[in-house]
Symmetry: C2
Subunit: 333 residues, 2 copies
DNA sequence: GTTAGCACTCGGTACACTCGAGTGCTAAGC
DNA sequence: GCTTAGCACTCGAGTGTACCGAGTGCTAAC
């Protein structure tokens, strides 16, 4: 643990570096009023902080830069709360007051909002579709042997799967029967817990019905349930084009992104810094996440991805507030 | 118009520059066997080509690089056909042979395919939802005053809009009546041509029905009907991070992308080069597009966005083949 | 019309040098 | 004993110079 002086010096270094992206020297720190000592004393402390792994020097005769460990301490112990400006808060409030329409669109817009607030890339993972109850199921024939199963859920999500009707064209009546049968079975339940189909007596109908239920309940959820906004902002955060490429490649793989956020949350973190993120390509990035709750239960995640040199106070506040408001908004509807 | 020798010299410059990204000098060109003259002669021709605007010198004592006009000539007159490797063709064939499932997913995957084939960003614009006929319409109440209108179209697309039911909660029967009424009206027709609603006699029902139809037919289509794949590859095409940022910002704005592709097609082009693209941020990019046809009618577009220094033969071939196969694939289902 | 030859241009690289930011250490001071 | 002024030292960044070589444009010969 660091004593007060070391802590405030570390804090000064981190804040200054986040601001300027330049290595910070002892003289600049000595000017910070919370640090009431001379630059020589600061230098002594800096070398201790470096020895203990909180800072590094890019080269002799340069200032210091925080390490992941330095950022970690800053985030855990030195981050002031409530770093969000009034107009930012207003923007969030306005957004959730005026937003409407389909869930997907709303989540997508939320990711853009968060990205706009922070100037980093933002990620929103939607509530699992299984959480909602089924309001309606329908089977529509598209081609002689292909039908589309469409389930409308209570949260406005529409799940659809194409279903192969089998080798020989089933009659329309069979399809209709299967549709009605599945509807009777699933409506009011969750897709996660479809229950067991009761046979109708007609094997063809039962076969189709089983396929429909299997299709609808097999969630390739994660793939489609994540919204990344403002990925282009990553290009402003780094000046090595190679780094940008790596980060963008990750952000394009929705499955990876979802897993990443889940991982961070599972580790009980709200911030993962640099190497903590666990992906080579994101070694220079930090990830800030927060779950959001609907009726007291965490159902999804919002987060941002930015450089380790991130404005943590604002980022944390923005993510926290957006996740909270998003949860509340979803609870209302 | 350029004589044969100038043309083959221009061609050599363009091909070499595309390959190496380095200004091309007269000596290198003189080595190309199609150009059977000495470097001195080449130099004379180069200075003519420069005077006529096909080439520029970054500075005296450097080689030449093509201008937009130079690329344009190359594309129009010098591009060999069929520049696609066998395994690339195979990849496309395999993709369309094995792909299945929902249209959106398939278009999304197509954009990734095309991006993977070319190493540039790829764009796929889906068929307008209005083109298909309605197979089913349903109105599902989600909240006291909000319902979701869901239309299932013959091509497997599901259109949904949330509909405000009005200030006072309408009875379930009214909603059901409206739902049935709209269904009777729309099924079998296109959303582009919904026809006129016949009044039922009940003003509340009619009011809801009108809202549903209005919602479903007002296409904010373009926004949701475009799929961009492999945007991260743009980072590999430029070394100025600022350029990358600009390009990515454009690619994130789906509306802009759709408009862009439409523009290019409307101008009767299959390639727009540099300034021809018409967007400041894409001044260093070229766009290759091709419409795809379903039953003889152009219904959508595929395209790629890459640097002006693009491998045009392969890019053109890939876009052409993918668009053709995509059209065929959609016609079959 | 083509080409060999050559003077010339100019960016890139290497090198030396300076400047200054920043350090670490030491010795004096509170 | 902790703090701090002072100072020697380090080293990157910036600058000026020289040089090299790629590449040109021009001229004169073929």
């Amino acid at each position: 643990m660091l004593d007060d002086r070391k802590a405030s010096i570390l804090r000064a270094v981190v804040e200054e570096y986040i601001e300027t992206a330049q290595p910070v020297g002892s003289a600049r720190i000595a000017q910070v009023k919370e640090v009431n000592v001379s630059s020589a004393t600061v230098r002594n402390e800096l070398s201790v902080l470096e020895r203990e792994g909180y800072l590094v020097q890019p080269h002799t005769s340069a200032g210091r830069i925080p390490t992941d460990k330095g950022y970690r301490f800053f985030v855990d112990h030195l981050t002031p709360n409530g770093g969000l400006q009034a107009n930012q808060r207003q923007r969030i409030r306005d957004f959730f007051d005026t937003t409407h329409g389909a869930l997907e669109q709303m989540l997508h817009d939320t990711s853009r909002l968060l990205s706009g607030l922070t100037d980093y890339a933002a990620v929103v993972v939607g509530p699992p579709h299984e959480a909602a109850t089924v309001r309606s199921v329908q089977l529509v024939v598209l081609a002689p042997r292909v039908a589309l199963a469409v389930a409308i859920l209570s949260n406005g999500v529409v799940e659809k799967r194409s279903v192969d009707l089998g080798s020989e064209p089933a009659g329309d009546d069979r399809v209709a029967a299967a549709s009605a049968h599945v509807a009777a079975q699933l409506v009011g339940r969750s897709l996660a817990d479809p229950g067991r189909l009761t046979p109708t007596g007609d094997p063809v109908t039962d076969d189709i019905a089983a396929k429909v239920v299997a299709g609808l309940t097999s969630g390739h959820d994660d793939e489609e349930n994540v919204f990344v906004g403002g990925a282009s902002r990553m290009a402003a955060s780094f000046d090595a084009v190679e780094t940008v490429r790596g980060v963008l490649t990750i952000l394009e793989q929705q499955y990876v992104v979802v897993t990443l956020l889940k991982d961070v949350l599972d580790r009980g973190l709200s911030v993962a810094i640099g190497a903590e993120v666990g992906l080579e390509s994101l070694a220079e990035c930090s990830v800030v996440v927060a779950p959001y709750e609907v009726e007291g239960e965490a159902v999804g995640t919002v987060g941002i991805v930015g450089p380790t040199r991130m404005k943590y106070p604002q980022a944390l506040a923005a993510v926290a507030l957006v996740s909270q408001r998003l949860g509340r908004h979803l609870s209302e509807s």
